[in-house]
C-alpha cells in the first residue's frame, strides 16, 4: 500500500477565480455523453472493492491528480485516473500497465509489466456507509459560534480552503460520520459529529461580496469554539 500522498489542492475549487461564465444547463443532455464515460464510471465504482479501499480513499485518489488529469477529460476522466490510482496503490495493477496496454491496442508495441502481488490496506469498515452511532456528546450545539480551523491537512480533507479561518454559526447537527481525513488513509474511522455551519458571505469574501448565506458541513475536528 502506498504511503499517504498530500492533496495537490486541485479539487478544492470553492472561491477560485478565472473559470469564466457558468454553463447554461441542457435539459436533454444524456447521462453519459460518450460510451467511455459509462465504462469509466462503472470501473471506478468497482475499483473501490477491488482495491479494498473506500469512498474517501477514492475521493483522495482524485485530489492527488495533476491539472491535466483532473480537468482535461472532465468528470469521468478524473474518475478513471482516480480508479487507476486506487488499483496501483493496492498493487492490483503495476504502474505503466494501462499505458502499455493502450499502446498495444493502438497497434504499437510496449512491454506490459507483470501483474503484481496485491497489497490491499489492512482495513475493514466497522459498518456499511459513513454514518456511525456515536455515544460521545456533541461538542457544539445549534446557535453556537464556531470557527473553521486554518489547517493544512497532511493528506485528505473535506475542509475547504475558503472556509478556513472564518467564523460562522452552527445551523444543524448532522449524524456522526467517519472522518474522511483519517478514513481515506485507513488510519481510523474516527467517527465524529458533523455540523452544518452557516457563514455570512461577507465574512468569507469581504465587504464587497454579494449578500447571501453559505452553509456547509464541517466535521467536529475542523472546528473550534469562538
Amino acid at each position: 500500500m502506498a504511503t499517504m500522498k498530500p492533496a495537490t489542492g486541485i479539487a478544492d475549487l470553492g472561491g477560485d477565480e478565472g473559470w469564466g461564465p457558468a454553463p447554461v444547463p441542457d435539459a436533454n443532455e444524456p447521462v453519459f455523453a460518450e460510451d467511455w464515460e459509462g465504462r469509466a464510471f462503472a470501473m471506478a465504482l468497482l475499483s473501490m472493492r477491488l482495491s479494498g479501499t473506500n469512498l474517501d480513499a477514492f475521493r483522495h485518489s482524485m485530489n492527488v491528480l495533476d491539472r491535466e488529469q483532473y480537468f482535461d477529460d472532465g468528470y469521468y476522466g478524473r474518475w478513471l485516473y482516480g480508479a487507476e490510482n486506487l488499483l496501483m496503490d493496492s498493487d492490483i495493477i503495476a504502474p505503466g500497465t494501462v499505458e502499455a496496454r493502450a499502446v498495444n491496442m493502438s497497434g504499437g508495441t510496449a512491454t506490459e509489466p507483470a501483474a503484481p502481488e496485491p497489497n490491499k490496506p489492512d482495513y475493514a469498515p466497522t459498518a456499511a456507509g459513513s454514518i456511525r452511532q456515536l455515544d460521545a456528546p456533541q461538542k457544539f450545539s445549534v446557535g453556537d459560534r464556531v470557527r473553521a480551523k486554518a489547517q493544512q491537512a497532511p493528506g485528505h480533507t473535506r475542509l475547504q480552503k475558503y472556509t478556513q479561518g472564518h467564523g460562522g454559526v452552527v445551523a444543524m447537527v448532522q449524524p456522526a460520520q467517519v472522518l474522511p481525513d483519517s478514513h481515506a488513509h485507513f488510519v481510523a474511522e474516527n467517527a465524529q459529529w458533523v455540523y452544518t455551519v452557516e457563514f455570512d458571505s461577507q465574512e468569507l469574501f469581504g465587504g464587497q461580496a454579494e449578500s447571501f448565506t453559505l452553509l456547509t458541513d464541517l466535521y467536529e475536528d475542523y472546528l473550534e469554539g469562538v
Partner: protein
C-alpha cells in the same frame, strides 16, 4: 485505431478506458455484465423523475411534506428512494423569501437516489468555484434572476449529507393531479438553479 501510439504519447481517454477494462476483465477482476448493469441503472432507472415524484407528493400531501422536511431520508424512503449517495438526505424548501441552491465545491456530491448522476453544469469548475462566492451572478448566467430581497442560501455538500431543494409550486396549478405536477418539475429546480414554471 486511428493512430499507432508509443509509451511516450498521451493516451486518449477513450482508449485508456478500454485498456483498463480489457486488463481487468482479462484478469477476472471485473465482469463486463456487472458494469453494464451499473450503467443501465443510472441511464434508465435512477434519475430526476424520482425527485419529481417526491416534490409533487410534497406539494399535494401536507403530512408528507412535513415528514420530508423533518426527516428527508425516511420520507423519500417511503417512496422507495434509497441507495448509494443517499445515506442522509436533508430537504430545504424554497419560498418567496428564501432561495436555496446546492453545490459540491470539492468534487460533485449529489443525491443520486433522487436525481441520478449529476449533469455537466453541476460538475463544471465554473459552477463549483463561483456559486459559493457570487451565487446571484452565477444563477443569472444560468437563466435565473432572483429578486435582490430574496435570501439566498448556498449549500456546499462536504460530508455524506445530501441536500435536495423543494421548489415552489407554481401558481395556477391548483387543478393539476400529482402526476401532472411531477411532469412540471425539472432536475435543475431540485438543485436550485431554476424555478418550476406552470
Amino acid at each position: 485505431m486511428a493512430e499507432q501510439l508509443t509509451v511516450n504519447d498521451h493516451i486518449p481517454i477513450q482508449l485508456r478506458t478500454e485498456a483498463l477494462e480489457q486488463l481487468l476483465v482479462e484478469r477476472g477482476l471485473v465482469d463486463p455484465a456487472v458494469m453494464d448493469g451499473f450503467i443501465k441503472t443510472y441511464e434508465s432507472d435512477v434519475g430526476p423523475l424520482n425527485g419529481a415524484t417526491v416534490v409533487a407528493k410534497a406539494w399535494t400531501d401536507p403530512e408528507f411534506k412535513a415528514r420530508l422536511l423533518e426527516d428527508g431520508t425516511s420520507a423519500v424512503g417511503e417512496l422507495g428512494f434509497k441507495g448509494p449517495q443517499g445515506e442522509h438526505i436533508v430537504v430545504v424548501e424554497n419560498s418567496d423569501a428564501v432561495h436555496n441552491v446546492v453545490v459540491c465545491t470539492l468534487c460533485s456530491c449529489y443525491p443520486w437516489p433522487l436525481l441520478g448522476l449529476p449533469p455537466s453544469w453541476y460538475k463544471d469548475p465554473s459552477y463549483r468555484a463561483r456559486v459559493v462566492k457570487e451565487p446571484r451572478t452565477v444563477l443569472a448566467e444560468m437563466g435565473l434572476d432572483l429578486d435582490s430581497a430574496t435570501d439566498v442560501r448556498v449549500w456546499d455538500s462536504s460530508s455524506e449529507v445530501r441536500f435536495f431543494v423543494l421548489p415552489q409550486r407554481p401558481s395556477g396549478t391548483e387543478d393539476l393531479s400529482e402526476q401532472q405536477l411531477a411532469e412540471l418539475v425539472t432536475r435543475d429546480a431540485m438543485v436550485g438553479v431554476a424555478e418550476v414554471s406552470g
